[in-house]
């Protein structure tokens, strides 16, 4: 439904539109706003435009409404960390699961855990440097395996000759629910 033209009677100078009693008439606030917003019917818009051509008071008021909106659109806003938002939403999705899965929102929980924390920043960085992060992850895995291998070898080298003899002379037999049994091998 589009707004029709409504008129209010406010005595003001500079207006050539007259009401039935001869006093100057003006567009009311709602209609003036609807005119500025382009929300009047064509016939009402034409009537309002005709009025504005002859009424400086309404013209000034209309310009003020337009200026107010223009200023509101220009108003400053904070700098937002969009990548952090992407990371938080990703984290929330990982918790809530697949598309269309109905569950209680856990955004606050994810936000509470991650936003502003090192974990949130790490996730954000990983998302913006995916390839590098993948390479780094693979390098870390290779490094970890190597360290474990070296450590294992060093441990084995620490076995005494007696330990080796003990290990070599036994083998493990698994028997039902009894558990592991260490059985002597009499031949060695």
């Amino acid at each position: 439904m589009r707004a029709g033209a409504a008129w209010c009677m406010k005595p003001t100078v500079g207006c050539n539109t007259r009401g039935r009693d001869g006093a100057p008439s003006h567009l009311d606030d709602e209609s003036l706003g609807a005119y500025v917003d382009g929300e009047l019917h064509a016939w009402a818009e034409q009537a309002a435009a005709d009025h504005l051509r002859t009424c400086s008071a309404c013209r000034v008021a209309a310009e003020a409404i337009a200026a107010l909106g223009s200023a509101a659109r220009r108003s400053e806003s904070p700098e937002w960390d969009v990548e952090a938002m992407v990371a938080l939403v990703d984290a929330g999705i990982s918790e809530t699961g697949a598309v269309g899965m109905a569950c209680e929102s856990r955004g606050s929980m994810a936000e509470g855990m991650l936003r502003g924390s090192w974990a949130g920043r790490v996730i954000g960085w990983v998302r913006s440097h995916r390839r590098f992060a993948l390479g780094l992850g693979i390098a870390l895995i290779v490094l970890a395996v190597s360290v474990l291998g070296v450590a294992g070898t060093a441990y084995r080298r620490e076995l005494t000759a007696e330990d080796r003899l003990l290990v070599d002379s036994h083998y493990i037999v698994r028997s039902g629910n009894v558990g592991a049994l260490l059985v002597s091998y009499p031949g060695r």
Partner: protein, 205 residues
């Protein structure tokens, strides 16, 4: 698919892929629209932290409901509707949604409670053009908007910063177009009077 390739896809295509389960596609939508959503939420609520929470919740709700997005509307319009509804629901919970609390002296919700409006106006006449035309930046108007009662502020912001039609606003808020028109008119009147009062105060200081 490499991240940069998502950037060349339309919102509709991305939403379609997201509905098929592509989280990367949805992330691209989040990347594209977060700033606009955060700005709207911040202007409505007046707090950066609360705006952040509201947008995050809305985006998660969007993911859960992305399969309901049919593509008849723009993705941004769809997710904005979710956000606005969530914020209005929060206002209702907090009892902030009453028009009866209208007061030109009410403290700002913008994190600067009680801070008086300061206009860069040396001299101003009584007509609205003088009031608005002499303000050097839009910051003063933003503060005045932040002080509006929520029901007026919401309609004003949806119209003036989101450039939504009365019909769209009515649809999002679930109110009649006539109510949109009257609330918008009230918001503008309060802003005009608020700014006018400050101008008068500045002139006699």
């Amino acid at each position: 698919m490499v991240g940069s390739e998502w950037a060349y896809m339309s919102d509709g295509d991305l939403a379609g892929r997201a509905a098929s389960g592509s989280q990367d596609a949805y992330s691209e939508l989040v990347r594209r629209h977060s700033t606009k959503l955060l700005n709207l939420a911040w202007r409505m609520i007046g707090s950066e932290d609360a705006a952040w929470d509201a947008v995050q919740e809305a985006l998660l709700a969007g993911w859960r409901g992305i399969s309901n997005f049919r593509g008849e509307a723009e993705f941004y319009s769809w997710i904005r509707r979710i956000l606005v509804n969530a914020i209005m629901g929060q206002f209702r919970k907090e009892g902030r949604n009453r028009a009866g609390t209208v007061s030109l002296d009410m403290p700002a919700d913008s994190g600067e409670p009680g801070e008086p409006l300061h206009l860069q106006v040396e001299d101003a006449g009584s007509d609205p053009q003088d009031v608005v035309g002499r303000i050097e930046t839009a910051r003063e108007i933003a503060k005045a908007v932040a002080r509006l009662p929520d029901i007026y502020k919401t309609v004003f912001l949806l119209r003036e910063t989101e450039l939504m039609s009365y019909s769209e606003i009515a649809g999002v808020l679930g109110i009649a177009e006539g109510t949109v028109k009257s609330r918008l008119s009230m918001a503008r009147r309060i802003l005009r009077e608020t700014l006018g009062e400050e101008v008068k105060a500045a002139r006699f200081a």
